[in-house]
């Protein structure tokens, strides 16, 4: 039997309308952590590209290497005053992209389990609203890394 024929035979056995999870739809890139000295809170950045036809909503993030990972947003008001606020969720629109990048959205990483070095890779798991998860390797970069 030709391989193509086998696939045709097996097709009816697959569950109908397999719904991709939100995590499946997301392609993560440019994931990095700006390492700060003395176990100070650090920031994690990543670009989330939603390749699916429905929105994906990031609701939390966690890592075995940090006691706490929070979704934050830095904002500068009209007077030039800069502050941070915590976000409950962050939606990546269908076929859209959201960047967690310096001076905007970021993951605030607190209390690392051990001191890291630039060049290491730290896994952070992103949790989506439908209960799906995406494990993303973040590369550790030095404090003065340009964005």
């Amino acid at each position: 039997m030709k391989p193509g024929m086998l696939l045709l035979w097996l097709m009816p056995l697959l569950p109908p309308q397999v719904q991709a999870t939100q995590a499946d739809q997301i392609k993560a890139s440019h994931a990095w952590i700006r390492l700060l000295p003395a176990n100070l809170p650090a920031a994690g950045y990543v670009t989330l590209d939603n390749q699916g036809s429905s929105a994906a909503t990031l609701v939390s993030a966690r890592s075995a290497f940090y006691a706490s990972v929070m979704l934050h947003q830095s904002a500068t008001d009209t007077t030039g005053s800069s502050s941070m606020r915590m976000l409950d969720r962050l939606t990546v629109p269908a076929h859209g992209e959201v960047s967690l990048a310096p001076a905007g959205y970021h993951l605030m990483l607190q209390e690392a389990t051990h001191p890291f070095k630039p060049g290491e890779t730290i896994d952070i798991t992103l949790d989506f609203a439908d209960g799906s998860h995406l494990r993303v390797p973040f590369s550790v970069r030095p404090a003065n890394a340009p964005d």
Binding site: P37, L40, A43, G80, A143, N144, P146
Partner: protein, 203 residues
Amino acid sequence: MKFSRLARLACLLVLGMPLAACQRNETAASWQLTDISGHMPDLAFQLTNDQGKAVTAADYRGKVALLYFGYTHCPDVCPLTLAHLHVVMQKLGKLAEGTQILFVSVDPQRDTPEALHTYVTAFDPRVVGLTGSPAEIEALTKRYRAAFSREPGKASDSYEVSHSSGIYIFDAGGKARLLATPDDAQDKLVHDLYLLLSAGGTP
């Protein structure tokens, strides 16, 4: 040939404009950052540097000073600004020796001289961290209308600080000259610092 005449005309039009711009004298109009000359007081403070030594603004006279307010528990905007300033220093090359970056903590409770030293040197060895009593810090932020506030955080012992994100630039004589924001391109800072430094830092 018709083409070459057109090309020459185009060159004249395109190149003519910057030439005219260059002929204007190099003053206020040539700054790419916000000119604050005459709108902000001279650099003055009494603080403690990241070596634990008492310092005043007079200790940094003779250098173009870049004053920035921040705090070490600031994982996003402060590191971005300091990383940008590090690149600016690199781009200035030898001229960077005539500049001094002053990172003033608006969180003196947590930012001891030691903590500041570890933080600032992670970005650039040329950055000096400054801290002081809450009253001394408040006096300096008020002087430059760099408001900051403290809001309680989620955990009982944590709090968040909002602060002015501007970079105040003073000439070698301690006169306030320019204001940069973290959004300003590094090249604008390099351009203006180059002008300030090559003019000897004084008008």
